[in-house]
Amino acid sequence: MSTHRWELEVKKTDVLVIGGGAAGIYAAVTAREGNPELSVTVLEKAHVSRSGCLAAGINAINAYLNPGETAMSFLDYVKKENHGLVRDDLVLTMAQGLNSATDRLYDWGLPLLKDEAGRYLARGKRSVRANGERIKPIMAQALRASGAQVLNRVNAVNLFVKDGRVRGVFACSTREEKMYLVLAKAVICTTGGAAGIYKPNNPGAARHKMWYCPFNTGAGYAMGLRAGAEMTSFEMRFIALRTKDTISPTGTIAQGVRVPQVNALGEEYLHRYGARTTPERLAATLAENMAGRGPCYLDTARLDKEASSMLKDAYLNMSPSILLKWADEEAEPHDKPVEICGSEPYIVGGHGMAGFWVDAGRRTTLPGLYAAGDVAGGAPKKYVTGSMAEGELAALAALADLGEDLAPLSEREAREALEAEAEAVLLPLGQDSGFTPKALQKRLQKVMDEYAGGISTGYRVAEPSLMQARQKLRQLAEDVALLQAKNPRDLTAAHETADRVLIARVVVEHLLHRRESRWPCYQERLDYPERDDEKWLKFVNSRYDNAGDTVVVMERPYEGGAFDDSSD
């Protein structure tokens, strides 16, 4: 298929948001409300009504300050969970917006349960219960009501940078032979994190039964890297503790109906390891398995019928397939405990800390580009409302910066830029031989799993195997040039695979650089098994040097207050 059939179109908007998830929708709504004169456009790879992480729904708002909690106490909790290293400024500013974001969701129609006093029904200190099956359609409705334009089925592939400033985005339709350059005065990146870097938990037809949205492929990270943006903490991979096979959330059981984690002998084991944080609970589970006392479980056998039925309702709002598991095993939740396991590693800024290096206004190191949600680094434990709070902060900063004097772009300049970019972006369509995106992605996943701390090595890494990963990824990066595509759908997949290969290279360089073990499982080195606060209580950052095709790693100091994790 030749590429010249593709239609090329230049569009203009004031504020451009890439990705219509929780952060993107709230950024767009905030921009429209902050200045109704502005045109705001949201680019979405799928369709905003059910795209991204929230497609299935949620059963709790996990970032909310219940009475007694404050932004400071939230920061304290996140810092403990993150083993001392976190961007205090980002977590605090995010925490300050959690409750207003929750209230907005309620106003938009999200059914949050309330008690007699009119307060949301708490599920924990920082969590409230929700019947959130329809959260995404509800948010999409609010987006449309705001007057923002939405371009569905359009996949962003590269930032348009002119004179050192981000001035727009190149994007391809996922269904039609059409490519765009969308020009904007401000670009807010909310593309989410990256799944599919590591070999997943389940094989074959179940390969996408995973924790993180498999359609979040790290486009924002990759676009930012190619444009020279500084990134942080890619070595802190997030690994979720989930139910076996269906990879459904465990918090629904652990916090929802409050039952303990037990080993195969029925013993509670977390205290044995002094496990208090999320990564420690995962590491303790792995240790029990290694000691021959696995598999491990959440002990739902202690539940009565009422709690059992409540659990099913909660799962239908978020992860319905676990009900099929119970039905296939001819058991009710209270008949036997639910087995748990670790997921494959993901690169996400919402649970982990990987992403763009930003300031409190969520400005990236590239002028004109802002980042919020999973794609923004340094502030974990975002969940839905934290992503929204960041989207709001990014939009407010973008509005405040809009007065900057930008040199006008002529239509001819834009057209020429689009034509030049189309040559490179549409290249896979002209390849008659080479690699399919899927085959190359499976190769990438195997390399990362075996040499860079995937499930098969218990998530642990060491220098010799990381050096192997570095070498094999370099070859994969060469092979990316030979990706082939026959249609718009294939082309999207080709760009997703290319993006993942670049992200994987950055992950490996970060893992090589941090010579300590800060987070069990997430970043654990067999050759440097101790946590070393004296040398390593700092951020590992990087940027990609396009010209030299190298990842340049640097360190940034931790600028927080005193940290005490001796008590809970």
């Binding site: 729904g57 397939s321 039905a327 296939d328």
Partner: protein, 107 residues
């Protein structure tokens, strides 16, 4: 493969600008086959979010567990209501259970 489309029930929503199942899939995995009925293009890419299952106006789409993840024949169908979702779980012996989950604030 995690959703099954019953071709005897699916009519391809001929009057809709875009069939609801095709609109909502976060992976854009649903297409129409040569007979104009919905089909899943890359079954192994399905995330099991059940958006299409809830959205289908004719209950033609059901969710099931792939064999690799321990699936043994149970199915889930969902019907969207104004204030929530009516689920029907059918176990491997054919016994059905209906569960309603509230999902919208009705003021």
């Amino acid at each position: 493969m995690t959703v099954r489309i019953d071709g005897t029930v699916c009519d391809g929503c001929p009057h809709a600008k875009e069939a609801p199942c095709m609109r909502v899939c976060p992976g854009d995995l649903l297409t129409k086959d040569s007979s104009g009925k919905a089909a899943i293009a890359m079954p192994e890419d399905c995330w099991d979010c059940a958006a299409c299952v809830k959205e289908c106006p004719r209950d033609a789409i059901s969710l099931f567990l792939p064999t690799e993840a321990g699936g043994r024949g149970s199915t889930l169908v969902a019907r969207k209501k104004t204030d929530g979702v009516q689920w029907t779980l059918t176990d491997r012996k054919g016994k059905t259970t209906r569960i309603f989950t509230a999902g919208k604030k009705v003021i």
